[in-house]
Symmetry: C2
Subunit: 392 residues, 2 copies
Amino acid sequence: MKINENYLRLEESYLFASIAHKLAAWKEANPRREVIRLGIGDVTLPLVPAVTEAMHKAVDEMGRQETFHGYGPEQGYSFLREAVCGYYAARGTIIGEDEIFVSDGAKSDLGNILDVLSLQNTVLIPDPVYPVYVDTNVMAGRDIRYLSANRENGFLPLPDQAPRADIIYLCSPNNPTGAAYSREALRRWVAYAQEHGALILYDAAYEAFVCEEALARSIYEIDGARECAIEFCSLSKTAGFTGTRCGYTVVPKSLSFGGHGLHALWLRRQTTKFNGVPYIVQRGAQAVFSPEGQRQTRANLDYYRGNAALLAGALQARGVWYTGGKNSPYIWMKCPDGMSSWEFFDYLLERAGIVGTPGSGFGPGGEGYFRLTAFGDRGRTEKAAGLLKEIL
Amino acid sequence: MKINENYLRLEESYLFASIAHKLAAWKEANPRREVIRLGIGDVTLPLVPAVTEAMHKAVDEMGRQETFHGYGPEQGYSFLREAVCGYYAARGTIIGEDEIFVSDGAKSDLGNILDVLSLQNTVLIPDPVYPVYVDTNVMAGRDIRYLSANRENGFLPLPDQAPRADIIYLCSPNNPTGAAYSREALRRWVAYAQEHGALILYDAAYEAFVCEEALARSIYEIDGARECAIEFCSLSKTAGFTGTRCGYTVVPKSLSFGGHGLHALWLRRQTTKFNGVPYIVQRGAQAVFSPEGQRQTRANLDYYRGNAALLAGALQARGVWYTGGKNSPYIWMKCPDGMSSWEFFDYLLERAGIVGTPGSGFGPGGEGYFRLTAFGDRGRTEKAAGLLKEIL
């Protein structure tokens, strides 16, 4: 029995382990000082009432024989898929109910989609980026080409700078940089993918943060995307579902390569290797898309946006270059005075007790940058903004 | 962009679609006749009170900021992993908490485990069997060898009949045949795997149905299994979690091939492609292992066992050969009078209004056999037993 040796080529991610280690040492040396965590991209506001009410009701249903639910459809219940269609339709984007696959989160599907794609494909991945794109392709042994996202291109690289590849990852609004593509830029990517017969894997996990009109919330706002793109969405950040686990993936029926529809392949993959999302969770997710759920979750997004504005304001006041923070919960800042990402991590912790994420943890292109998140609570974020103004 | 062409080699499973089609036609022709469904392996009793109470409490926690849970550990919360350890320990089997990976069901992990194993491995799969083993390996392009499970070996084949392979699937109590291995038989499989450096993937999804003392409930009851086996467990049938989605997989730390521990590889796979099971569901699963949860879920298992005994009694009374039904919710019967699986399906539906599953749907070795499940309700199962006695 042999293991998959591609796993031996994975680089160990010491990022969050290193952060935890450094933080522990600092806390031991500074037992009385307060720590403000703006590192990990996890939400802090609880689930909204519309969601918890729907889940209580679903738990009751599961406890009574007449309303009990056993195996559900692997691709998700119609009630939730219809709600997702409505969410798209409200923005003028028409998606068929049977093109939506309910998932346990974008991370799972972003990794699992690769099952249905040939190992021979080459892959284009921006640098820096969410590490899952790289790792899942290393695991499968695919040839990876990198596309530099940098200050010159506003961390939004375009296809004219891209090496050729069969599979293209785009993440907008971006993790970690918070930069978001305009419709015009996405039009160029769609045209490029169509011209070269490439597939775009579009990670829209942060779409709910988009507030500027010129920016896309879905790649399907672009003509032709239904012929070249799969879109991955999540309720993790939209509705605080990081610990509740539900998302959805759109695989258009018109998406076909070499005469083979990806929709049928993905359906076969999911019905064979997945058994769907818990009924209770799907009822909670449905409630996110109700008028009340939308109102309540939007209030939470506004709260996080307010946090981002506070942090961005502090950087602006000190003339520090950054991107993100407006259509994204992430702020991606240039480390001051030519510091490396880890040097600035140490500086920020030592001087202000603030924990952020070194940009170099997202790829070599992230060196010299730093990520702050807006998911903390308001009081501590205000304090952090004040401290940033003092020490920068 | 090329698709994974292995998917084109998958045989379309028309089994349940064909059943639905035939049933619809029959119902149209016989609008007044009652249908008794003993086909699909889905539970009908609701979640027990211990579980729904725990889930209500968890929903409340998720709705309050102080008790909200965001991202949890991908491998599951300690509270649940400890509960699973206790469940094993109560039977004298010692598993480390960090050897347990909480999953969203055995089906997912049985497919996903293949990610960490080389594509070069050959695979040994019993015939007939749960179709997921075959399909997931066809998707990856592995060379599959079949091992005949038949009436002569009691549908419990032993290694002396097996062609050589690197990965060995065992499912006990078996889906679809209901046959369960004795400890003595498993000892032979473990010795064989150790001798040949093979890995056993042991599907124990139905272990809770085992009631005979000589039969194993876990492969880790056998010395040496920690060096050659991964065990997949599920709360789907144990506690009616088919629509609630939670299971667990045991990957011993002592499991190593070519110097590479599978535990570390699987942890890497899960932290990269999975984000854990919902907090609410894990709290519900924990409650299954509480004294109250155990008492309540055992009562449900007894109810299904009672159903199985009724069906088995009918077959016995008519001298029809069958296996299963005692340590399993499935009864695997020989079709009478040399009928094929589908001929008997038609006969049973026409004569008695009973829907079962043709054995040939589980592989060519299932031809001439038929599966009945004990997951129906008592009244209809009693009626079915009476009808079976009449028409056989």
